[in-house]
């Protein structure tokens, strides 16, 4: 029994964790009232996707995808593609976060607060 | 024989061009130039249309295809006999109405004349487009153009009343137009063609009866709204707030006739008599028409406003056309088509008279018009003549058409419809002749006190002469034409021959059993 759970966790557990992270991120983005917290939750969500891709690229007994002398063969290295993709994704999420923080400063400047309820309370819909 | 010629398209385009010119030059040029554009476009258009009559009479058709407007359907014009009739009427009357409009608008110092003349030109363009359209899609394009172009005319005065009637007009026409659209799409999806064909392209039994009825009524709804068939007539009386030339256009030339023409196209050129009678739609349509004829006549009797009375008369008269078509006999179809002509000339005379009276004396209620004939003899005489024509007295245009419809109904073994038509003629007499009587009666006979109270007594009774020539000449022309057409239906453009030709083509020469 424990073996089964162990293999399961070893093989699929990481996916479970990425899904949990993603769900929590989205939940936080929806339920948090503070814009700063929303940004943090957004980052959690983005990180979960990155984990997901990296988990896909793992290989048993594979090493870093940097050539080492005398070590040849596709099995020896882990998949470089997800890493390359995720570098891009990280940079993109960095850019998004930067813009989000700038927006937040602007919002703070206009409204004096970054609590959603105080900003979008009365008079917003008009 | 089919003649490839750009003339049908030019006839459509010329007034569209005029509208563009008027809109762009608009306020920058003098009114004379603007109206010169209108008039010259009208004359060119009429010349183009009339020049095609002889060839059509000899059995050929002009055809012009621009390009594919949607996948599989061409943006094409074809001048068959039925379309020719409507085009002749519309383009001929545009000249008359233009002259009249100039007189009316100037006499009344109307605002926004640029928009008015432009919209008018677009309306006429769409009317010709409707008559020459070779297929349903082309037809629908011009039909909706007409709807939109008429809206600014209906709401011309821009006050709350005009806005309300504009909204009402749009509600009726847009809804029916969209349903018409759905039906066109469905017909194209089922039959793979949209080209008008005399006798229809829909085979009886090709779809189940329920679906065919549904398609038929979705399509006919588009026409029936514009033709004012009850219970879809609501917009027509409220559109009365518009200036009188607009009413004349609405009720005589373009809009309602386009509706009647739409009914004709749908019944005779899309479904065809056999499919229509197979699914029983003709009877339903006929009964709607009969109800409309009778009810509208009764309502008309109770209206004191001259234009309102004429409006309800229009509703009734148009249902003659619908009834004539739905009887499905060759005679009645020919009669219905000729009624498009006859009613156009008669009703435009009546409306122009009403407008002339309004501009000259500022009277709009019948009860205040006692003794008007003394001041405006010519106008009142023409009004009387046209009233008799509407009632269907022999030697006037209305008689020819009604006689044919009745003959068709009798031949088809539907004496009830014939009886209704006769009764309706009597009703028409009973609501129009009293007006004439008031005109020619004494001033104090009806509502002299109101006349004084309303402050127009001096105008009416003082006698400052008849309407201005710009209004009077068109009235006399149309009255004369309706007289001539009554005596010699084939005079001039051979419109009666065209109607008979078209009816023959639709029914294949014999009566449908």
């Amino acid at each position: 029994m424990i073996d089964i759970i162990e293999t399961f966790l070893a093989e699929k557990g990481i996916y479970m964790m990425t899904f949990v992270l993603m769900g929590l991120g989205i939940l936080g983005m929806i339920s948090c009232g503070n814009y700063m917290k929303k940004i943090m939750c957004m980052n959690i969500m983005q990180v979960s996707i990155i984990f997901f891709f990296l988990a896909l690229g793992q290989k048993e007994q594979g090493t870093l995808p940097v050539f080492v002398e005398n070590l040849l063969g596709a099995d020896a290295y882990i998949n470089p593609l997800p890493h390359a993709l995720m570098l891009t994704a990280i940079v993109v999420s960095l850019g998004t976060t930067g813009v989000a923080l700038a927006l937040l400063m602007k919002i703070k400047g206009i409204y004096g607060t970054i609590e959603e309820e105080e900003i979008t309370g009365e008079g917003w819909r008009k | 024989m089919t003649i490839i010629s750009i003339r049908p398209f030019l006839a459509v385009a010329v007034s569209l061009l005029a509208a563009l010119l008027i809109l762009t030059l608009g306020n920058k040029v003098k009114p004379n130039v603007r109206e010169g554009i209108t008039l010259s476009a009208a004359v060119i258009k009429a010349a183009l249309v009339f020049s095609m009559v002889p060839a059509v009479l000899s059995g050929s058709e002009y055809y012009f295809c621009l390009w594919e407007i949607v996948d599989g359907i061409e943006f094409a014009f074809r001048t068959d006999a039925a379309g020719m009739i409507f085009a002749c009427v519309a383009s001929g009357l545009w000249i008359v109405t233009s002259i009249y409009s100039i007189g009316y608008m100037r006499g009344h110092h109307e605002k926004n004349q640029t928009g008015y003349f432009a919209a008018f030109a677009v309306c006429l363009s769409s009317a010709i487009g409707i008559s020459f359209a070779a297929n349903l899609v082309t037809f629908f394009i011009f039909y909706e153009m007409l709807t939109v172009a008429t809206y600014p005319l209906v709401a011309h005065y821009r006050d709350d009343k005009a806005k309300a009637s504009g909204r009402k007009y749009l509600a009726y026409t847009l809804i029916s137009g969209q349903l018409f659209f759905a039906a066109i799409v469905a017909v194209y999806a089922i039959y793979g063609t949209c080209d008008f064909k005399a006798g229809g392209f829909i085979e009886p039994g090709s779809v189940s009866m329920g679906i065919m009825l549904l398609l038929f009524f979705l399509m006919i709804g588009g026409g029936a709204v514009k033709a004012g068939v009850m219970p879809l007539h609501g917009w027509l009386p409220s559109a009365m707030v518009a200036p009188t030339p607009v009413s004349a256009l609405l009720h005589a030339v373009a809009v309602v006739k386009a509706g009647a023409f739409c009914v004709l196209r749908v019944v005779c050129y899309v479904f065809g008599p056999s499919a229509v009678s197979w699914c029983g739609a003709d009877r339903i349509l006929a009964w709607f028409a009969v109800t409309t004829i009778l009810l509208s006549s009764f309502i008309a009797m109770r209206k004191d406003n001259l234009k309102a009375r004429l409006a309800f008369s229009t509703i009734g008269q148009l249902s003659y056309i619908v009834l004539g078509i739905s009887v499905l006999a060759p005679y009645s179809i020919a009669g219905a088509m000729f009624h498009i002509v006859a009613h156009a000339f008669l009703k435009i005379t009546l409306f122009m008279c009403a407008g002339a009276i309004f501009v000259t004396t500022h009277l709009s209620e019948i009860s205040t018009m006692g003794g008007l004939a003394k001041r405006m003899p010519v106008t009142c005489a023409c009004f009387g003549l046209a009233s008799l024509g509407i009632a269907g007295l022999p030697l006037l245009a209305g008689f020819v058409s009604k006689f044919n419809i009745i003959r068709g109904a009798l031949l088809m073994g539907k004496p009830l419809f014939a009886a209704v038509l006769v009764a309706a003629a009597l009703l028409a007499i009973s609501y129009l002749i009293p007006v004439v009587r008031i005109f020619f009666g004494k001033a104090d006979e009806a509502g002299d006190c109101e006349c004084t109270a309303s402050g127009h007594a001096a105008d009416v009774c003082g006698g400052h002469g008849d309407a201005t020539p710009a209004m009077l000449i068109p009235i006399v022309i149309t009255a004369a034409v309706s007289l001539i057409l009554g005596i010699m239906p084939d005079a001039g453009l051979h419109l009666y021959d065209l109607a008979v030709m078209a009816a023959d083509a639709i029914t294949g020469g014999g009566a449908i059993v």
Binding site: K12, L24, G57, K59, A74, I78, P80, V99 | -
Partner: protein
């Protein structure tokens, strides 16, 4: 509110667990060398990238060469983020510099001798390390993004730690944005050069330089775009830093 959040989180965790348990075969097992992910493109890259591109680091090979076009736009994202932050905050007034003098009671905590000395030692090391990382991008771990970030950190330390108005260098936010743009342009130029030599966009082996092996040209190309990336990333981070710094009041 808090209770709702906890319930929501619990639901999500349970749903994720349930989904993975209920449909275990949806995704390949972690570390499975036979899965489509690890056998198709992966094998090609591992086996051919050294020969194709001359880069020892396969991730760099994929990032800068096979998918160099992605990376161009990744750099653009950086540039765009900087310029957007600048535009968003440009209408907010900057804090007056004369008021930036740190008041007496706080002075000790902001500019102590230890901090001042430490930064003088650390900054050169960081800069050297940045060049090392940049140069090593191809052969082992490293690359333009990291190097750019390190350079920006050096600038940042220089900008923040000593007294505000006497840091070594001071780029304005606009100058930083322009520099970032020039960095991207270097990248684009590297891509455009092969087109004058009959190649496609970013086809490094058609770079108009004399070289014996295609792999050398690939290395040159990768180095060139890395320079662009370094410039862009550094300038963008400086850009965002300046934008924020100029508008932040330190009294709260």
């Amino acid at each position: 509110m808090e209770k709702k959040k906890i319930i929501g989180a619990a639901v999500i965790i349970l749903a994720a667990v349930a989904a993975v348990i209920w449909a275990p075969d949806i995704l390949p097992a972690v570390g499975d060398a036979e899965s489509p992910v690890n056998s198709y493109l992966s094998t090609y890259y591992i086996e051919n990238s050294l020969e194709d591109t001359g880069a020892h680091n396969m991730v760099t090979a994929v990032l800068a060469d096979y998918r160099g076009f992605d990376t161009l736009f990744e750099t653009c994202v950086m540039f765009l983020a900087g310029i957007t932050a600048l535009m968003v905050l440009s209408s907010t007034a900057k804090v007056d510099k004369s008021q930036r003098e740190i008041q007496e009671p706080y002075k000790a905590s902001f500019s102590g001798t230890v901090l001042d000395t430490a930064f003088r030692v650390v900054v050169p090391i960081i800069v050297i390390y940045a060049f090392y990382v940049f140069a090593h991008g191809e052969t082992s771990l490293g690359g333009g993004f990291q190097a750019g970030a390190l350079l920006a950190i050096a600038y940042m330390i220089d900008r923040i730690i000593p007294n505000f108005n006497n840091s070594l260098g001071n780029m304005t936010e606009e100058a930083a944005a322009m520099t970032a743009g020039v960095g991207v342009f270097i990248y684009i130029l590297t891509g455009l050069l092969p087109m004058f030599n009959g190649g496609n966009f970013l086809q490094y082996e058609k770079l108009p330089f004399g070289a014996e092996h295609a792999a050398e040209l690939h290395s040159t190309g990768i180095i060139m775009i890395e320079i662009g990336v370094v410039v862009c990333v550094m300038a963008t981070i400086i850009n965002i830093l300046e934008v924020v710094l100029e508008r932040t009041e330190f009294d709260d």
